[in-house]
Symmetry: C2
Subunit: 306 residues, 2 copies
């Protein structure tokens, strides 16, 4: 526990009262651990993500509700990239000393804002206070629910390369407000045409390099096809960096990047993927303009600072 | 990702090379999420715990190996308290900027030191650097493996109250070096006699109050039976607090506290539990000396500072 905020046990009682019933949950938060009934036909897909004050958010600018949403949405976006359904989550919060119970509740409600639309139950957690800055983590448990998880490792030469939306400049605000592409990821998985998938967290160039490395392939992107977000253009006006470079190298878009043997037909109600290139042999990534290799794309890590 | 330590990708390659094969793991760390095959007969028992620099350890005193061990052992101790078998874990590390790759590797090896004896696979994680202090979290997935999880909520009037070892003064060092009572927890679960169980993380008085509240019962502890650790006596010499109060109120012993309808017979090779009292009706906890109520025990939270 370790929480020494005044009103600690009020907060814990409040948390327990927030739990919504779920078929999955035999015993929810409040014991040493939670107990879930995992369906025998479901693969268990698991991972964890953290957000740190000054790196992934700025507690002097962003509300606790936004911060809670972001860390949960990052995990839901990982589920989208695996084509699995979010099922349950546990969270930790390291609160700066002097934080109010109201602040802690808002963090939790932010987690719930993001998780509830997917019936993803928050089944446990740990809250502590310290003299350090705010840290949140969420561990997500997803279930395959009849769709084989899509990895990064099965892109084939000739596959199309697609993204689910315009890229770049998320630092202007979208990095806090993106919507995880869970339903889209499921439909892509169900199509049977998708050979590899990842969500764009580090940036298109870096995340495409992950697919290329794991699949032992190369890639050509068409300069004219890479969708550039208006935020990338706005940012370009400020910093002089070409909008395309923002689209290639900025992180935290959280659109899906995938490869497919042919274009999947998706529900008209969903975002339609945009083809941006083709998987090639070799192990390099190029940007193409009208059939000419314009430049070698270097994987650039996500290094923006707030 | 967000890790910007020089040598980031060397570290990630190193981490991936460390993974040991496991029947459970269909796809290990390195993709968006890991994929596990969960046996249909197993309940999934899940929880998370964090350790913070200056609260749960002191990075100027403790080695990264010790810190890694501690956070994993805290989670394994939760598994012990539920009588489940640790199966898999994911971890996060928030590293202070300027930390060396060697330091990060030692943290990971500490996790492994603790997890490996129980074949608990580390299947994913997230590493980031920031200007803040060191934070580690571990999420543990346990499996019931034929033993019903033991909760805090089924202690009955007349049950004996037991602990698995002497208590108090863990701050002198044992809080970093305790051994999680996983095998003992399993045997207690298998006995069919244990009605409730918890690991002593907040302190005997607080953790017993959790059992009493969840089970809607009271308790009497026998003053002469509460086993006092030598560390509690040493600490008493320094701070003048009675060793018994250290045994009652200090945290992070990580012995098991349980109630049972009669004393379980355990393998002679295991620690033998010590009976310290009896569950009563009502909702209060008393300390008894020779049949007289010596005092009302107040639940005291774990509030030590390093």
């Amino acid at each position: 526990m370790g929480l020494t905020v005044s009103g600690e046990f009020d907060f814990i009682d409040w948390l327990r009262a927030q739990q919504t019933p779920s078929d999955l949950v035999q015993l929810g938060a409040g014991d040493d651990l939670a107990v879930l009934r995992w369906a025998s036909e479901d693969l268990l897909i698991v991972g964890v993500d953290q957000v740190l004050d000054g790196v992934h958010f700025d507690s002097t600018v962003h509300t606790p509700r936004q911060i809670g949403r972001k860390v949960m949405n990052r995990n839901l976006s990982d589920c989208a990239a695996m084509a699995c359904l979010p099922a349950a989550a546990v969270a930790t919060v390291a609160l700066p000393k002097g934080s109010s119970i109201e602040f802690a509740k808002e963090l939790y409600l932010g987690l719930r804002d993001a998780a509830d639309p997917f019936d993803c139950a928050i089944v446990g957690g740990d809250t502590a206070t310290w003299t350090g800055h705010l840290v949140l983590t969420v561990t997500i448990l997803g279930r395959s629910a009849g769709v084989a998880p899509i990895t990064r490792g099965r892109a084939k030469v000739g596959d199309g390369i697609y993204v689910t939306g315009p890229l770049g400049g998320s630092i202007l605000g979208r990095h806090m407000t993106f919507e995880p592409r869970v339903l889209l990821g499921r439909q892509l998985g169900e199509s049977g045409l998708v050979t590899s998938m990842i969500d764009i967290s580090d940036g298109l160039s870096r995340d495409l390099s992950h697919i290329c490395e794991e699949s032992r392939v190369g890639a050509i992107l068409q300069e004219s096809q890479v969708p550039i977000h208006d935020d990338a253009r706005k940012l370009s006006e400020r910093d002089g960096v070409h909008p395309l470079l923002h689209a290639l190298n900025d992180g935290e878009d959280h659109e899906l990047l995938f490869t497919a043997s042919s274009e999947p037909n998706l529900d008209a109600s969903l975002l339609q993927p945009i083809r941006i290139g083709t998987i090639t042999d070799g192990n390099k990534m190029y940007l193409d303009r009208g059939g000419n290799r314009l430049m070698l794309i270097e994987p650039r890590g996500w290094e923006h600072s707030l």
